[in-house]
Structures are given as C-alpha cells and as structure tokens.
C-alpha cells in the first residue's frame, strides 16, 4: 500500500513534532526550550501548509501563516524578551530527573498510541497514526508541566500543549473554521501577556520564579 507523498510528509512532520516535544522534555535550559518551541511552530505551520495543499482548503493557508507569524515569531520573541527582562537564563530545575521523565514519556507514548488506535480506524485514510502522535504530544506536554519547577517552562509547556491540539485539529479534521482559529490565536497571545504580567508579580512577591514558593500561600491553619 503506497501512501500519497503529502501524507508521508505530514507523517514525517508529526514524528518531528513528537521528537521536539521529547527534546523539550529533556531540555535543561530555558533559552533552548524557547528555541525548541519556535521550531515546533515551524513544524506545525509546515504541516498545515502541506495539509492545505493536499486537501486544497484555502482557509488552512491562512491558519498556516497565522501559526508561522504567531508561534514562530511573536510568541518566542515575547518569551525571549520576558526572560531577558526577568533575567532567568538559568537551568531548568526538574522535579524528577530527566532519564526517568523520558522513561515515563515512552510509557505515555505507548499508552496514547494504543488509545488512539481505535479512533484512527474510525476516521478515513489520512489520519491514521497522526491522532496517536498528537495525543502523545499532548500528554507529554502535560508531563512537562508536571515536572518543571519554573513558571516560564510551565508556560512553554502550556503553549506546546496548545500546539499539539492544533496539530490534531489540522491533521485529523482538516482544520477548524477560521474564526475559531483566530479566536484561539488571540487567546494564546493574550494568555502569554497575562502570564508575563504574572511572572513579574510572582517575582516581586517571592524574589524568585520558583513555583514551589507558592506552596506558602495556603492557609496556615489548614
């Protein structure tokens, strides 16, 4: 059975997406984390382009351009500016050590591949296996949120989660209505701004971005 070439390309990009998520999971430095996030954006917009081309849906071109501008240029730029102003280029401290995280990651991949197997069989041709990868990326991003200590890396994890969902949407259902996508893009942008403001607030209160300080916020009498 010969798969059409555009789909092969989407498959390849999907695997690269997973690879990048894994790289983010293994990454210790915030700066590289943001660069990886930008790379993820590139992959995402490329795959959207390919899907747009192969299914001849014009609105997907817009969303590909949107992804490219927002997730490759604007958000990484914002994050770069943020860490420059917060002066947090230091290593990410993880809660669990990295090899263990990776092993858990592999387990999650197996889990989500199997979880997605029945769904893939329902949908026709194009999406076979892609949902599994997208689901794995979502779970891995969640794992990254769980294991990171610093607020910034959690935000990156959140954005990567959004990317994975977006990937699932474009590759599996050939895109959402353009209005919805614009809405989500706006949401993400606003969210990043708000997170930025939060970071400054957190740092002013605790002198650090380590979210473990927030544990002190709970009621002492409890």
């Amino acid at each position: 059975m010969q798969i059409p070439l555009p789909l092969q390309f989407v498959n390849l990009l999907a695997s690269l997406l997973l690879l990048v998520v894994f790289a983010m999971l293994a990454q210790r430095r915030i700066l590289s984390l943001i660069n990886l996030f930008a790379l993820q954006g590139v992959i995402l917009s490329l795959s959207t382009f390919v899907v747009a081309y192969s299914t001849a849906q014009h609105h997907l071109y817009y969303s590909a351009w949107l992804t490219l501008i927002l997730k490759v240029l604007v958000l990484p730029w914002l994050l770069h500016r943020l860490i420059a102003r917060l002066n947090v280029k230091w290593d990410v401290e993880t809660l669990i050590n990295i090899p263990t995280t990776m092993l858990v990651g592999i387990a999650l991949v197996i889990f989500s591949f199997n979880l997605a197997a029945p769904i893939s069989q329902l949908s026709q041709g194009i999406t076979r296996g892609l949902i599994g990868i997208a689901l794995a990326s979502v779970l891995l991003s969640l794992l990254m949120m769980l294991t990171r200590r610093k607020a910034i890396s959690q935000v990156v994890a959140f954005l990567s989660l959004e990317n994975s969902l977006f990937f699932a949407a474009t590759s599996a259902t050939q895109g959402m209505p353009l209005v919805v996508e614009f809405g989500i893009a706006l949401d993400v942008l606003v969210a990043t701004y708000i997170f930025g403001i939060f970071f400054f607030q957190i740092r002013e209160t605790f002198d650090s971005l380590d979210i473990s300080h927030m544990e002190n916020l709970k009621d002492d009498n409890a």
Binding site: I106, I110, F113, N114, A117
Partner: protein
C-alpha cells in the same frame, strides 16, 4: 532385546547412585574417590548426554517402575524435551565432574565421601526430575535434588554465613516446592490417585480459571528455583557458599531444571492457552534480566557476580518462553518455534559457559584463597591455562561472535524483529521495548564481564596471594577445556544444534524451524533474504584477516619488540593500588542506577591518614519484601505461641475442644 534410550537413562541414574554410595564406602581412601569415582561419574555423564541426543530423534518411551505408591507406581518418560535437557545435564556435568576430580583432592576423607554421595545424588536427582512422568515421582526427585544440593551448599557448615545461606536456600526451595505440589494438585483436578500421572494431566481439560491457577502456581514454584524476581534472593547467597563445582552444577544445570519444569507445565501439560501467561513471563523475565545484570555490575565477590549474572540469564530465558507462549497463543507458530529455539539454545549455552566460569572461580579460589576480586589481579601470568579458558567463557557469556552466546542472542533478537502484527496492540508495542531491554542487558553483560576478567586476571597483583598463585591441575584443566570446547562448538555449528532443538519444537508446538539454506554452515531461521549468519565463515574471515595483517606487518616492516616499564605519566610512585578495584569499575553503573540500589558507603575524610573506604550495594527488595514477610511471620507465630502455656491440662483441653468441634461438623 531392544535397548531403548530410557533404559540407558535409568541405568545412568542407577550408576550415579551406586557411585555415590561407593564414594561413601571408600571414604578412607580419598585418592580413589578423586581419581576413580569422579572421572567414572564423568564418563557416565557423557553416556547420558549421548542418550539425550539419541532420545531427541527417537519416539517418546514410557517406563513404569515397580516402585512408589500402591496405586501410583513411578512413571518414567523420555521424550525430546527431556532428552534435550538430559543432553544438557550430561554435557555440562561431564566437564564439571572431571574438574571436580581435581578440585576435591585437597579435601579430608570423611567429608569427601559424604560429598561424593551428595554430589552424585544431586546429579541423579536432576536426571530423575527430567525423566519423571508423574507428579509423585517428580516431587520425590525434585526434593532429592533440593536436599542434596542443600547439603552440598553447606559443605563448609562451620562458617555461620554459609549456614545462613543454606537455610535461606532451603526455605525458598520449599516454598517453591509447595507451590509446585499445589499446581499439580490443581491440574490433577480431583480425579483420584491415578490422575497424578502427567499423561492424565495432559488429557484433563481444565477450565480457564483452574488452568491459570495451575500455571501461576507452577510459575511461582519453578520461578523460586530458577531465581526469577522476586524469588531470587537465595541465589547470590547460596551459589557463592557452595564449593565451585557444585555452584557450577547449580547455576548451569539445576536452574535449567526449573526452566524445564516451566516448559513442561506450560506447553505440555497446560497447552499454553492464554496470552497473558506469555506477557507475564515476558515482563517478569525482562525485570529479572535487568535486575540481575545491574547487580552483577556492582559486585565485588566474583562468585556473587556470577550468581547475579545467572539471574540475568534466567531472565532472558523467561523472556524467550514468554515470547513463545504469546506467539503460540496468537497462532504464529513459526515465530513461536524461533523463540523456543532461542530459549533452548540459550539454556544450553548458559549451562556451558556459566559452568566454565564457576569452576574457573574455583581454581582461583584454590590458588589465592580469595573471593574478593579487589585483592586479585595479574593472574593471567601465574594461571595461564585458567586465564585462557576463562577468556573463552567470558567472551561467550558476553555474546561475542563467533561463540555460542551470540547465536542464542541472535536468534532471540530475530524473534523480536519478526514479530509485528500481533492482534493486541499493547503487546505489539511491548515487543520493541522488550527488544531494547534485551539489547541493553546484553550490553551491560559485556560491561560486567570486562570487569570480571579484567580485575581478576589482568593488571598487577593487588595482593601477595595473587602474586604467588599457581595454575590449575590436569583434571581441572581437562574439565574446563571440555566446557570451553562446548562453548566454541555450539557457537560454530548452530545449524546442527537447531536441528536437534527442532525435535523439541515439534513436540511442544507441533512445528519446527526450517533452515532455509541447504548448507550446514549458514544459519537461516526464516529465509535467506531475511537473515542469515555463518559463524564458520565469520571465524575464518577474522582469522584470515588477522593472520594476513600479522604476516604483512612482519614481512614489510619488522617484528622488533622490547620491554620497558609502563609509562608512569611523570609520577614514579605508581602501584597496584591505583588500578580500579571491582567496586571502582562498577561505580558508574551504581551511579546511573542509584535509585535501584540500597547503598551504604562510608567515605573517609580527605585528612584521614589511613583512609578506609567501604561501600555496600544491597538489594532493596530484601528490605521491601522479605523483611516485612518475616516480621509478619514472627507476629503470627507470636500469636500462635500464646496458646502454648506449658500446662498439660490446657493442651488436653485444646484436644478436647477440637474433638468436640470436629464432631459437631461431621
């Protein structure tokens, strides 16, 4: 009259028992025991090996002995599966018995006589386990094997540690034996005494629940004997405690009887029905393999290291069996045959190289009086024979081509590679992960063996005893040479071995591995396009290239050579203590897998004049599993002991109450 393989095999068992008794009778003349009885026992082993080979291609024989219970006489059966393991037993014990003839020379007469009896009873017990065809005889043989090996382990019973090791061994062996007995009970299914024959069990079709119960009980029982996680704790205690030839037999052969038991029960008696049996064994096997090799890497005692390595190999075997069951259940019988072949091949290989390595440690122990590798070093100079033969074993166990360990690893990996397409997608994905774990443990095994060989034989002597060591005697060399020869031959003639194993696959799975290529030199388990391996060509090519290089270098340049002191890096005070000890060599592994070990170490302060370092890596399972069980047992027995007051009236009351209660219920 027609002589059948089974007659010869029973004769061998009888001969062994007679030899043992003779040994006991001759205890006043230890020289006769060593230079007559043990070599004769070795010849008998060879006969058994030949019988086993013979039985592989013969039709199964049955014999009923006029012994045993009134309604259940002893049944014997020799089919290809038994034949294969008998050949394994014979082949390995021939080498070990030859070695023992030299090894036990220094022993006092009374001890030696007793030991000779126990040794041959042990051999006879193992052979009988393989031949037994009813549950009763099987248990009798199994217990003979367990008890005689217990006494062998505690040969040096004056040392408290050895007594403790023996006790642990006995305890776990019996917990296992009870599980096996229960398993037979389940399989018998309450159909009267006659249903205790294996033949009846084979034809009794149990319901799913009961067959799974029987399987789990058998896996537990045989697993305890084989050292499968978490029943492995006795192994690293008992193997080092026993005299080396006995360790060799225990590790090389006795563990295989447990593998035989698993195969017999799972395939022959229960017909391998449920897929999760396979997955369970696969998972347990993987855990056991990684656990074993990880712990082997941090050991300082050479025999403990080998014992942990045995745990690893048992894990690999269990993986193979698990894979076979899974494939068999899903109807992929060609693959099942491939993985079964890999399993059986590996058990044969392990019997050879592990026996070789264990008897080798015996020679080292005799020569240096040390088991701690940290005090050895440089033995390649004082013990050239042992060093050369052990090198073969070390290369074989690390899975280096063209020796035997590589062949079975190759077959197992081929089974993994061919496996996609199982209906259950989780299992489908488990397969590549399992292959990765196997590859990892194989690579770690090489690490362990470089450590083992390098620290013991290479470098400078770390102690006086090592500097003055002497080489092994003639008998010992002969035994080791035989085992090393087997390692080489099994590595070079895989096609022949696979043909023999095919008879077993035919029996258990109803299918066999075809050798697609017509040549005996080329192993092609599936088809020629897919995979092939030819150790003979490989060896010839390596040798050819090497000799050509030597010739060219010496012909066109020169062969001048001179000796000088080792380069000291500008630091003249180099001494033997600057080499890595066993702990030092294993340190990276300990660091990487830190969470798995319970590490106690004392680091000296930098200003200490006499710095002393101590580090111990212990098994967490012992603390997490065994000690709680022990505490619970103690608590329970504490409650029971409340009943015990010492008043005779009270005891009479208990009896009376029991009687009344029984009467009420009946």
């Amino acid at each position: 009259m027609n002589i059948l393989p089974i007659d010869v095999a029973s004769g061998v068992i009888l001969l062994w028992i007679v030899l043992g008794l003779l040994g006991l009778a001759l205890q006043r003349s230890p020289r006769v025991i060593c230079s007559v009885i043990f070599p004769f026992g070795a010849l008998v082993s060879l006969l058994l090996a030949a019988t086993g080979l013979w039985a592989l291609s013969a039709t199964p024989d049955i014999a009923v002995l006029p012994l045993g219970l009134p309604d259940l006489p002893f049944h014997l059966r020799l089919d290809p599966l038994s034949g294969f393991f008998l050949a394994l037993l014979g082949g390995a014990s021939f080498g070990v018995s030859l070695y023992a003839a030299g090894y036990f020379k220094a022993m006092a007469g009374e001890v030696l006589g007793l030991l000779c009896l126990e040794y041959h009873l042990f051999l006879a017990g193992m052979a009988l386990v393989l031949l037994a065809d009813d549950a009763y005889l099987f248990m009798v043989a199994w217990e003979t094997m367990a008890l005689s090996s217990y006494f062998l382990v505690t040969t040096d019973h004056k040392i408290p540690d050895i007594r403790r090791a023996g006790y642990l061994y006995l305890l776990i062996a019996h917990v296992g034996a009870i599980a096996i007995l229960l398993s037979f009970g389940v399989m018998q299914g309450g159909h009267g005494v006659a249903a205790y024959t294996f033949d009846a069990m084979r034809h009794a079709h149990l319901s799913g629940f009961w067959s799974s119960t029987a399987f789990l009980l058998a896996l537990f029982g045989f697993g305890a004997k084989a050292g499968v996680l978490p029943m492995h704790v006795w192994l690293p205690e008992a193997h080092p405690a026993a005299p080396s030839p006995v360790s060799a037999l225990m590790s090389g052969v006795m563990l295989k009887t447990a593998i035989y038991g698993i195969l017999r029960v799972t395939f022959d008696l229960l017909h391998a029905q449920v897929w999760w049996w396979g997955v369970l064994m696969l998972t347990l096997g993987l855990l056991t393999a990684v656990f074993g090799v990880m712990f082997a890497a941090v050991q300082g005692d050479m025999k403990r290291l080998l014992a942990y390595s045995s745990i690893e190999n048992i894990g690999l075997l269990l993986v193979g069996i698990g894979l076979t069951v899974t494939f068999h259940v899903y109807g992929k019988d060609a693959l099942a045959a491939l993985s079964l072949t890999a399993t059986l091949y590996h058990s044969l290989n392990h019997a050879c190289f592990k026996s070789l390595l264990f008897v080798g440690t015996g020679s080292i122990l005799h020569a240096t009086g040390e088991r701690n590798m940290g005090r050895m070093g440089g033995l390649i100079h004082s013990m050239p024979w042992v060093a050369a033969l052990m090198l073969v074993g070390v290369l074989a166990i690390s899975g280096m081509p063209p020796l035997n360990g590589f062949v079975s690893e190759w077959l197992l990996l081929q089974a993994f590679l061919l496996s996609p397409g199982l209906p259950n997608s989780y299992i489908d994905m488990l397969v590549p992960v399992a292959a990765a774990v196997i590859a990892l443990s194989a690579a770690l095994a090489a690490y362990v063996m470089v450590k083992f060989y390098g620290v013991i034989f290479l470098g400078q002597p770390r102690g006086n005893a090592s500097a003055k060591a002497h080489d092994a005697g003639l008998w010992e060399r002969a035994g080791m040479s035989w085992l090393a020869l087997l390692c080489v031959l099994l590595g070079l003639a895989p096609v022949f071995v696979v043909q023999q194993i095919n008879h077993v696959s035919q029996l258990l799975l109803g299918t066999q591995l075809a050798n697609a290529a017509p040549s005996w030199m080329l192993l092609t388990p599936v088809d020629t396009e897919r995979a092939s391996y030819s150790p003979v060509y490989f060896l010839l090519a390596v040798l050819g290239v090497m000799l050509a290089t030597v010739w060219v270098v010496h012909r066109y340049y020169h062969g001048r050579l001179r000796s000088a002191p080792a380069w000291d890096c500008g630091f003249p005070a180099q001494n033997a203590r600057m080499q890595d000890t066993a702990e030092g060599f294993g340190q990276p592994i300990r660091r990487i897998f830190e969470p798995f070990f319970k590490i106690e170490s004392e680091l000296p302060s930098p200003f200490d004049v006499n710095p002393k370092y101590q580090g111990r890596s212990e098994d967490r399972l012992w603390y997490l599993l065994y000690l709680p069980v022990r505490r619970m047992t103690e608590k329970l027995s504490g409650w029971v002991s409340l009943l015990q007051h010492g008043h005779i009236h009270l005891y009479l009351t208990y009896t009376f109450v029991t009687l009344v209660v029984l009467l009420i219920f009946v």
